[in-house]
């Protein structure tokens, strides 16, 4: 375990000196928390705005508001729209970190001395994976905490945020997505030679989440707890498959002799 810890420490010491990585880790969660809070604030201070939003609530969503007042239902709807941002966060941050961490080893030719130590491939992968997943998950949870505190301060009912729907999204789907991000970054990194190319290519994995986001905004689908559970189950299967492929590609001999 000590070697895994040392890998994580080294990764953080190195990766967080990169401004782009720092920006991604700090800025994205800030946006994710600030956007819904800003819209809630507007809704509270402008009755017209709240009324406009109220008119846009899809028929299906109203079913979820059965015990809520009209204003609470509007708030619940607004916050629900942003749940997908909290799913993109744990995906985007690990992808950025892992792309720089793995391709960085490759471009600086630091992998060979590292692999010459008694570290096992599992320790190396777990260390690198943890170094990428932990900041993504913690940043998401912190952003969620900021959202909850900010919403409470604005008088939004906590039922809207502290319900199974959000809990599964933030505490189950979040870490699963972070794992997806790292696996994809490892797979892409084994072929790419430039961290930005790897990061940009890996970011394509956020497309399905964005599609769901836009479908919800367009009123085509309604994300509820059932859909979030379904996403979690699909992700579990996808993660197992991706991790298997990532570990297969991350063979010592492949890394040293075929990574170009």
């Amino acid at each position: 375990m000590n070697r895994v810890y040392q890998i994580v420490r080294k990764e953080w010491a190195e990766v967080f000196k990169n401004r782009l990585v720092l920006f991604t880790v700090a800025f994205l969660p800030l946006i994710a928390a600030a956007l819904p809070l800003g819209i809630l604030y507007l809704g509270r201070s402008s009755a017209d705005f709240a009324a406009d939003v109220g008119k846009d609530i899809p028929q299906g969503f109203s079913v979820l508001c059965n015990n809520l007042t009209g204003e609470e239902c509007v708030q619940y709807f607004v916050i629900s729209q942003f749940i997908l941002l909290f799913m993109i966060l744990p995906l985007a941050i690990p992808i950025t970190i892992a792309s720089y961490s793995i391709i960085g080893e490759k471009t600086r030719r630091t992998l060979e001395p590292l692999l010459a130590t008694p570290i096992t491939t599992a320790e190396l992968l777990i260390g690198k994976g943890a170094a990428a997943v932990i900041p993504g998950v913690i940043a998401t949870w912190l952003a969620y905490l900021v959202l909850v505190i900010g919403a409470a301060w604005m008088g939004v009912g906590m039922d809207s945020l502290l319900n199974p729907f959000w809990s599964i999204a933030v505490f189950v789907v979040g870490p699963l997505l972070a794992l997806t991000g790292v696996s994809v970054a490892v797979i892409i990194s084994s072929r790419a030679t430039d961290p930005r190319t790897a990061e940009q290519t890996s970011m394509l994995v956020t497309l399905p989440i964005l599609l769901v986001f836009f479908a919800q905004v367009a009123g085509l689908i309604l994300i509820d707890a059932q859909i979030v559970i379904l996403i979690a189950l699909v992700l579990m299967a996808v993660d197992v498959a991706l991790l298997t492929v990532a570990v297969q590609l991350f063979q010592r001999e492949n890394i040293l002799t075929r990574w170009k």
Binding site: Q6, A13, T110, E112, P113, A116, T117, P118
Partner: protein, 312 residues
């Protein structure tokens, strides 16, 4: 310390190293010479358990390849072709990271010792990205030495360094060999190999030659003694050729070139015979072959001109 038996490595059907057989003694400094793509780095990678051989095996520091590679890696150090350091981290942080991976108990003490030994202590807190090539190479050597391995692999340790930095690295390697460590050196620098190595293996996928630098010169070209005469006559060739220890004789300008196995033992006999035959011997010298001549001869399959070499 190292025993290699039939070690072979192929990449996608292309043979990089073929049937390498070799034994390297404890405390020996052994050099691999060979052109680019000769399999030198592949050999070091196999011996340090970084890649697996296609066939054959080796015992390194008491461990057989493929049986307990983690233990093997704990007992060998490797300086890779590129220094491979973390530029954003300080010299001290680079070493302490590796010290932890090797499970060293007194990490701080060991890191301090090697930073001081290689003259980097004063700049320990600076990011490695600000270091010169020579300093980076010294830090990479410190990293390879950190866990005090009994076997050290050095892959082209002075390539790309300025003469002063290269000399410092060479002196450090000489110091290490004095400590009884087994050192395997890959190099293109023939002068370096000549000075540092107890034995040399000329590798070009297969092992073409294996011996001490002196013996290799003798094996490939023999030792050529030059008798400078004031009065070179055709019969002097026959005077010298009659001795059984003379391998070859030729006369050129005012010189008689004689190939001998042991000049120190046979020169007095030859001088005496020549004087008795009427020769006026001005002085006697020897053409010394450089390791470069030997190397070029071996890798180009005997294409070196025999006239090359410096008389001493």
């Amino acid at each position: 310390m190292i025993r290699i038996e039939g070690l072979t490595k192929q990449f996608n059907g292309i043979t990089a190293v073929e049937n390498l057989e070799l034994e390297i003694r404890p405390g020996e400094v052994f050099g691999f010479l060979g052109p680019n793509g000769a399999g030198k780095t592949t050999t070091l990678r196999m011996l340090s358990a970084l890649i697996n051989p296609t066939s054959g095996t080796a015992w390194v520091a008491g461990y057989r390849l493929g049986e307990d590679d983690q233990a093997l890696r704990r007992n060998v150090g490797i300086l890779t072709e590129a220094p491979g350091l973390y530029d954003r981290l300080s010299a001290e942080r680079n070493l302490s990271f590796f010290a932890h991976l090797y499970g060293i108990d007194d990490v701080d003490g060991r890191v301090e010792r090697y930073l001081k030994l290689l003259g980097l202590w004063e700049r320990r807190s600076e990011p490695v990205g600000t270091f010169s090539r020579g300093m980076r190479q010294k830090l990479a050597i410190a990293r390879a030495m950190l866990h005090e391995p009994s076997v050290l692999f050095l892959d082209e340790p002075t390539t790309g360094l300025d003469p002063e930095a290269a000399r410092l690295i060479r002196e450090f390697i000489e110091g290490l060999s004095g400590e009884g460590r087994t050192i395997i050196l890959n190099t293109h620098n023939l002068d370096e190999a000549d000075r540092l190595c107890d034995r040399i293996g000329v590798l070009n996928t297969r092992l073409l030659a294996l011996d001490t630098p002196t013996a290799l010169r003798r094996e490939v070209f023999g030792r050529k003694v030059v008798f400078h005469l004031a009065n070179l006559r055709p019969q002097f060739e026959a005077t010298v050729a009659k001795f059984p220890f003379v391998e070859a004789v030729e006369s050129k300008d005012a010189k008689l070139l004689v190939t001998l196995d042991d000049p120190e033992a046979h020169n007095p006999t030859l001088v005496s015979a020549l004087v008795n035959a009427g020769a006026q011997v001005r002085f006697v010298g020897e053409i010394r072959r450089s390791l470069e001549d030997v190397y070029l001869h071996l890798v180009s399959n005997g294409g070196t001109e025999p006239e090359r070499g410096n008389e001493t």
